[in-house]
């Protein structure tokens, strides 16, 4: 058998910076996600359903809530749309849970880290993949709702623009929270099913018992344990609506604290992770 092969010379190549390397991870990650029908379906249905229900809620708010003024507080109604909670959990579970766990399981992580990227680069890229997708449910529907409300002359353009600004901040807070928590859970295991179960546990496992218990014993402070109720408190305060039973500064501190803590723990976990198999 005779085979002639070309040879190569080692070269000093002009290499692009860190931003480009992170962008390469993001591009690959997004391609991976959008090859999965589940990810596309959940994102599309989540964004569409949340947007439509938010607009419907807004449209019928005067009927559901007698005396509801057509001011900024109007937008607390779509912001507290329960479908946001449902779809954000679903998206975090379907898309986010596997972002790190899958790479650990398939040992793609080994190849990633054999390149000149840091764990921080890797995590930033993973967050940059998940956060925009989550925002399709947490931010985009609120922005569209405000736009539709202005177009239908339910509110003035001034109020609509103000609502969009607040929606960006409040929706952004929820996006950051779910991104950080989901990536943290995903970094803990090689099985994305476990991480996905963790996302549901954080949402419904805390929200439902906390709500039931708070009603049963008439102690609203238990609602602080539920991230969704914390979000509702902050959203209500942001739009100047009636309180959700708990103080918004404390709720905001809990949400921000949990987000920062989850991000830090994920960083520490990934920094220390040793790629044993492969």
């Amino acid at each position: 058998m005779s085979i002639s092969l070309p040879t190569y010379k080692r070269l000093e190549l002009p290499l692009l910076g860190r931003r480009e390397r992170v962008r390469a991870i993001i591009a690959t990650g997004l391609k991976k996600e959008f090859r999965r029908p589940a990810a596309i379906v959940v994102t599309a249905i989540g964004a569409a359903f949340t947007t439509i229900t938010s607009i419907v809620l807004l449209f019928f708010a005067p009927l559901f809530i007698p005396g509801q003024a057509s001011d900024l507080s109007f937008f607390a109604v779509p912001a507290s749309n329960g479908f946001v909670l449902f779809f954000v959990s679903l998206m975090a579970a379907v898309i986010g849970a596997g972002l790190i766990a899958d790479d650990m399981q398939s040992m793609a992580f080994t190849l990633y880290l054999s390149r000149p990227i840091t764990q921080t680069d890797y995590l930033l890229a993973k967050a940059a993949i998940l956060a925009p997708l989550v925002s399709m449910v947490t931010i985009v529907p609120l922005l569209l709702t405000a736009l539709v409300a202005a177009l239908l002359r339910l509110v003035s353009w001034t109020i609509a623009v103000e609502a969009m600004g607040i929606s960006l901040v409040i929706g952004g807070l929820l996006t950051l929270f779910y991104t950080a928590i989901t990536l943290f859970l995903s970094s803990l295991t090689r099985r994305k099913g476990i991480a996905a179960a963790g996302v549901f546990a954080v949402n419904f496992g805390l929200t439902l018992p906390a709500t039931v218990l708070a009603n049963q014993i008439q102690n609203p402070s238990i609602l602080y344990a539920s991230p969704w109720n914390d979000y509702l408190a902050v959203a209500s305060a942001g739009f100047g609506a009636a309180g959700a039973g708990i103080d918004w500064p404390a709720a905001l501190a809990i949400l921000l604290g949990a987000t920062v803590l989850a991000a830090l723990l994920t960083y520490v976990r990934m920094k220390a992770v040793e790629v044993i198999t492969g």
């Binding site: 058998m1 085979i3 092969l5 070309p6 040879t7 190569y8 010379k9 080692r10 070269l11 190549l13 002009p14 290499l15 692009l16 910076g17 860190r18 480009e20 390397r21 390469a24 991870i25 591009a27 690959t28 991976k32 090859r35 398939s106 040992m107 793609a108 080994t110 190849l111 990633y112 880290l113 054999s114 390149r115 000149p116 990227i117 840091t118 920094k271 040793e274 790629v275 044993i276 198999t277 492969g278």
Partner: protein
């Protein structure tokens, strides 16, 4: 300490399991073979060298630098893992390109270098097929392509020949030799001593996490020649292949562990590996994979460690 790899009393535990046990060795320039049975600690050593494991004791350097969390050092090395990984939906071209982009290579340059690297390993014709459809040998070559595509100073290859078909082995060994001839360093692991013999005389034997012998291959080979060497061949027609191989006078026995598997024992492994591609080509029988179980090497290790 001025070797390409310097390891001084390196120990690594996985809980209560000892991965490396005071491993001490110095790997010089050119190609060094790390030979040992499965579970000997080869992959652990490689993971330490590429900075993906942190040692518990001792000191290890690669190209004079501590590899742990050393991002700049990663630009200088090319790593080929043993396991098949990354995303199977990527084509060979995309697979190599993606990893080059992670190196910070501009897109056009990454495309060009990926194409060149795939050509070097003989995968040009399959470059635009998804890697999930590749045979094991093709995957090994794709992984080798990504390891050398960014022009590293050193290649760290974990069992690069595992599962490769005869033609693939020729390509891989040629590529490794060419890389070293052009001034690169290579550290490659195998549990088949005869394969590494074709590209280097420098070997380090590793067993139970310890370096038990290092240096010239010939003395160690003489020890191994006393033990029949087992080769497991994956083929759809094992009996026909056995019939063709029976003309080799050094073949001791045949076994058929499964319907698509042939286990051959030979007293002259070097001759066997040399003659096999020709026989396969002559008989037009398909060989999907080639592996050597550890047993013959184990016998030598038992001898060396007393």
């Amino acid at each position: 300490m001025n070797g390409v790899v310097e390891a001084a009393a390196v120990s690594k535990w996985y809980g209560e399991v000892l991965g490396l046990n005071a491993f001490t060795a110095s790997f010089g320039k050119g190609i060094t073979g790390l030979v040992g049975p499965n579970g000997a600690g080869k992959t652990t050593l490689f993971k330490l060298l590429i900075g993906q494991l942190h040692l518990d004791q001792g000191k290890i350097t690669l190209l004079g630098e501590d590899p742990w969390n050393n991002v700049s050092l990663k630009r200088r090395l090319g790593y080929c893992p043993e396991q098949n990984q990354l995303y199977g939906w990527l084509t060979g071209q995309q697979f190599v390109e993606t990893l080059l982009r992670l190196d910070g290579m501009p897109p056009a340059k990454a495309r060009q270098e990926a194409t060149a690297a795939l050509k070097v390993v003989g995968l040009s014709s399959a470059a635009h097929r998804p890697t999930r459809g590749y045979s094991r040998g093709m995957r090994q070559r794709a992984k080798l392509a990504q390891a050398l595509a960014h022009h590293p100073e050193i290649l760290i290859l974990d069992e690069p020949l595992s599962g490769a078909d005869p033609a693939g082995r020729v390509h891989i060994l040629r590529t490794i030799s060419d890389f070293a001839r052009d001034g690169g360093h290579v550290v490659m692991s195998t549990h088949v001593l005869y394969e590494i013999e074709r590209v280097t005389n420098n070997i380090v034997l590793i067993h139970n996490g310890k370096a038990i012998a290092a240096g010239d291959i010939h003395a160690i080979r003489a020890l191994i020649d006393e033990h029949p060497h087992a080769v497991r061949i994956e083929t759809s027609k094992p009996r026909q292949l056995a019939q063709a191989l029976a003309r080799m006078d050094h073949v001791v026995s045949f076994e058929f562990p499964s319907a698509d598997m042939l286990l051959v024992r030979t007293r002259k492994p070097d001759a066997f590996y040399r003659e096999l591609p020709q026989i396969v080509a002559d008989t037009k029988l398909e060989v999907q994979g080639l592996e050597s179980p550890d047993d013959s090497l184990d016998a030598v290790f038992r001898y060396l460690v007393g």
